[in-house]
Symmetry: C2
Subunit: 605 residues, 2 copies
């Protein structure tokens, strides 16, 4: 039944040969790879305003220079990542670039930052998508968490099926979203030109408004930087582009940077002009409502926003399992992350990501504002590491034009490093501390996992020429509870595998034991029966004593314990019987040299 | 570590011989067996007032005739149960009496009613105990559920240790409580005599106050009947009394009935005189505060009330596991309920009861008023069945004075039946429906469990003379993942148990398989290796196909699959490895004739 359900949800298994790289054209690569970056327009500008609004209306003007600074940072990042594309045409995620140029520690730092970041992308994007929907349909607001969890599960199932083949459909939401926001910006600006600036726009003053400290400005800036998450996606996927690979990827990156800059500037500008302040309704929804009223255009904006945000979740669902599988191959993560599932994707990574994101959504009640302080710090840390990695590379390899390349990446590294620090400091108490603790913790865990694998690998290695399998003496113990079909079945099995077999009967009083001995004599005199009385009614302790006793003659031998197991026809009846077999199995598992054989007995009832 | 913790909490195991009946004197039997009944004074009168109070002050007078009716019922019950003591000196719980005289269905009805009732006694008594404490210390009110759960766990641990030997200490609270309430009643009455009736006592009118319907009066009556829960305890434990058993038990019952009648009348009367109305503070706490102020005496009343209520919980903790073990012996409940634990008590029943009561406390937020509608219906149903059982017995056996005995039990049966019906009708929508559904459901489950055990028993039975264990051909399959120490270990074991062994290698591509074949030829040419390519990367399906293939020649043979199992030194490293072994084991468990042998390999790391 479970298998049938799995087949319906996930589809039939695929052969290994069906795994091949798909090359995608630019027009399809842009929407797929940039949904994460572009969708952050839905929450980035809002985050700036969330910090500034409590100071008062006069502070809102500062969102404009902050957006300007963010756009400057975006352009610098674009230039830096352009160089990664050219240097790592095989795909240069921060984990690869850092491992390659900064060593294991750098790579693991980037890896842990990225794993955290991908998980947060899913939580933030789906929560933000739900916010877009519930802004349009306030009746859904009480179900925020439920809807968010449902979306994550939906995307998980789609990814377990493997959705790469249906990529074309998935490029629509991004284009529709870009179109919608551009339309919104143009209409909004035209309206302002015709009707004039709404009267309530506060005047710009020369000095900082009261209460607006440098700390707050930096906090607003770092919050806004969440708009930049996702710009690295294209450089990670360079090999998926059609030839000429590098040029196509670089051009797509350039388009992404320009588009994102326009959307960011547009949304922040409109928010300022229309004097929008965050409340339970999203900023984007308020802007759209101001400009379009509650017309079809308004709902178009909300729905496409929600769709591109879900698509952004999806980006993490393809990036996380791949990174986890690379780290598993490098022995930093458990084996299960490196195994391809029925549909050729890394299903364990997909499921792990979904569960982790759902835990976050539930813990933070699907509230984007509370998730943001955890977010972006990982992204910017990985940005910093990737740039620093390239800086080291230029110094080491000194290729053509290495100095100008170095300058670009050095500026990128310094800028992103500064943002990381600003983020960690200004958001520390709001939640960034979790990430600040989590990253070194993860690195430690990665090292310990690798250490374990290396040691076990050495331990298990053998020399084919000299290390041959050898027979050692073996003895069989059959705990019996009486004389029944189950016992007959188990004794029959013991006879069939040969070796010296002893039946062990543990009675609760002498009378019990005597009756059993005389019956056994009649029934199976050829099988040796050992009996013992357990005054404490435990069967485990006498069994363990008997096993110890067998080893006392000093001979090294293996002991096989045959444990009969009822397999009932109806599952619920299993719980009605004694669980002695299960207990014996669990406890013997930790005894050296004891093999536990589960001999099934299939009940007809 | 788990074992050590268990030892500290529960104590060392006891030998079976240490199980012997303890005979207890009357002065010790009264407090132990009557705590359930007497403690219900803490919530019974309050339940009457809870129903009447919303009508208005004039309705409160009706609590007096209602209490009168309940006391009359109590006396009738006392007379009826006196006869059970004489007829069943071996202990006559409703389950035994009903099974004996009304057949299996009657017995199971009583059994399910009692199991529900014992569970509710724990939930109601502990919640009521917490209410007594939080009335005295309102600061604890937010922690009601937590404290209730803690108390249940505490009583569970005490019962797992086995607390019978320390019975003397446990008789103090009951006597202290009786003393306290008697003192309260006397002081309260004297105060009224000296200071006169408080002026706000409403006048008695001739006609029913507006809004006080017959339905409400019956509801108040049935709520108040929760005071009678527990009067059957003495007749259940007749054999524990010293000789002359019957006379001592009957006298103790008489004392209980008289004491309970006095306490009930006293508390209800004081509540009326002092015009106490239920609110977040218990009625008993309000009365005590009126009479004693917040002096030492007040705290004495609250603490002894809480203690006797916890003792009442404890009564259920001794009754439930014994009933469950009897029903398990009769094959109506899973075996685990009939097994004595390390400390000779039925530990599974104790743990089950604690868990069920904790679930109730959490679900009903430790609110006594919400639990009461579920309570008492089971008690009165079991009362009715026990009395009816005796009526049938008198008619069938016709002993001396059978007619007068029959009249007493018939009246008892009719009265308790009427109360059961009143309860079910007036409380139906408030929660009684749960019990009305649950009882037949439990009966159905009991029947199905017994049917399973009977069928399995027949299936497993063998004829010692003819049904001997027989050897059948056996073959061993060893799934191998490469050549390593683990594989060497498993092959070595296969050699030691003899029989035809085949190593099965499942590769993911042809190259893989060829490399393995050539290496194997060098390493262990004497062990046959079968290889196969799994294009779907599953190892389970090719293994199952291979097993099927072995059975295809039509010969009946057993197949043993040797599954190597890593036993790491540190538990957490277990999760790092592939769980293929576990998967193979789970899936093969459902294959007929396949024996799964877990061959351990103990890692040094």
């Amino acid at each position: 039944m479970m298998t049938a359900l799995k087949r319906i949800l996930i589809g039939p298994p695929l052969k290994t040969e069906e795994l091949k790289d798909q090359k995608i054209p630019k027009w399809k690569a842009l929407p797929t790879l940039s949904s994460d970056a572009l969708s952050s327009v839905a929450y980035g500008p809002e985050q700036i305003l969330t910090v500034l609004a409590p100071i008062g209306a006069v502070a809102l003007w500062y969102s404009l220079p902050i957006a300007g600074a963010i756009i400057f940072l975006l352009v610098m990042l674009g230039l830096s990542y352009r160089q990664i594309i050219h240097e790592y045409p095989g795909g240069g995620g921060a984990y690869i670039v850092s491992s390659d140029n900064l060593g294991t520690f750098g790579g693991l730092t980037a890896g842990s930052a990225l794993l955290i970041d991908y998980t947060l992308t899913v939580a933030v994007s789906s929560s933000s998508g739900v916010a877009a929907i519930s802004s349009a349909f306030p009746v859904l607001r009480p179900y925020t968490v439920l809807i968010g969890v449902f979306f994550v599960l939906l995307i998980m199932v789609l990814n377990l099926r493997g959705i790469r083949e249906s990529g074309t459909i998935f490029s629509f939401p991004t284009y529709l979203f870009i179109l919608g926001i551009l339309g919104l910006v143009v209409t909004g600006l035209v309206k302002v030109l015709i009707q004039g600036v709404p009267s309530h726009v506060p005047p710009v003053t020369n000095h900082l408004p009261k209460g607006l400290t440098l700390f707050l400005l930096m906090r607003a800036f770092s919050s806004g930087c969440s708009s930049l998450t996702g710009v690295e996606a294209i450089s990670n996927s360079t090999p998926n582009f059609k030839k000429p690979v590098k040029q196509n990827a670089a051009r797509t990156l350039a388009v992404l940077v320009i588009l994102l800059a326009i959307l960011l500037a547009g949304v922040t500008g409109l928010a300022y002009l229309y004097h929008v302040v965050p409340n339970h309704e999203t900023v984007l929804s308020q802007i759209a409502a101001h400009i379009f009223g509650h017309s079809v255009f308004y709902y178009y904006i909300q729905v496409t926003t929600a769709l591109i945000l879900l698509l952004a979740c999806n980006t993490s669902f393809s990036a996380f399992p791949i990174l986890a599988s690379m780290m598993s191959d490098d022995k930093f993560l458990p084996r299960m992350f490196g195994v391809r599932g029925d549909r050729l994707n890394f299903s364990n990574g997909i499921i792990f990501l979904a569960v982790a994101a759902i835990v976050l959504i539930i813990a933070f009640e699907g509230n984007v504002n509370q998730l943001i302080p955890l977010y972006a710090i990982g992204v910017f840390l990985s940005f910093t590491l990737a740039q620093t990695g390239l800086v080291c590379r230029w110094i080491k390899n000194k290729p053509k034009h290495w100095l100008s390349k170095l300058v670009i990446n050095l500026i990128g590294a310094i800028l992103t490093f500064v943002v990381t620090i600003i983020f960690a400091v200004t958001k520390f108490t709001e939640g960034a501390w979790i990430v600040v603790i989590l990253i070194p913790l993860l690195i430690l865990i990665f090292y310990r996992i690798r250490r374990h694998f290396v040691l076990v690998g050495q331990e298990l290695q053998i020399d084919i020429e000299t290390d041959k399998p050898e027979e050692i003496e073996s003895r069989i113990i059959i705990p019996v509870s009486g004389i029944s079909k189950v016992v007959r079945n188990t004794i029959g099995y013991a006879k069939s595998i040969g070796g010296e077999a002893v039946a062990l009967y543990i009675g609760f009083d002498e009378e019990d034991v005597k009756r059993m001995e005389s019956q056994w004599e009649k029934w199976a005199p050829d099988v040796r029966l050992v009996t013992t009385v357990s005054r404490y009614r435990s069967v485990i302790r006498p069994l363990l004593r008997f096993i110890d006793h067998m080893g006392e003659d000093g001979k090294h031998r293996r002991i096989t314990v045959l444990v009969p197991e009822f397999i009932p026809r109806q599952w619920w009846t299993k719980a009605l019987h004694n669980q002695t077999g299960l207990m014996i199995r669990v406890i013997l598992l930790f005894r050296k040299d004891v093999v536990i054989s589960t001999v099934p007995y299939h009940l007809k009832h």
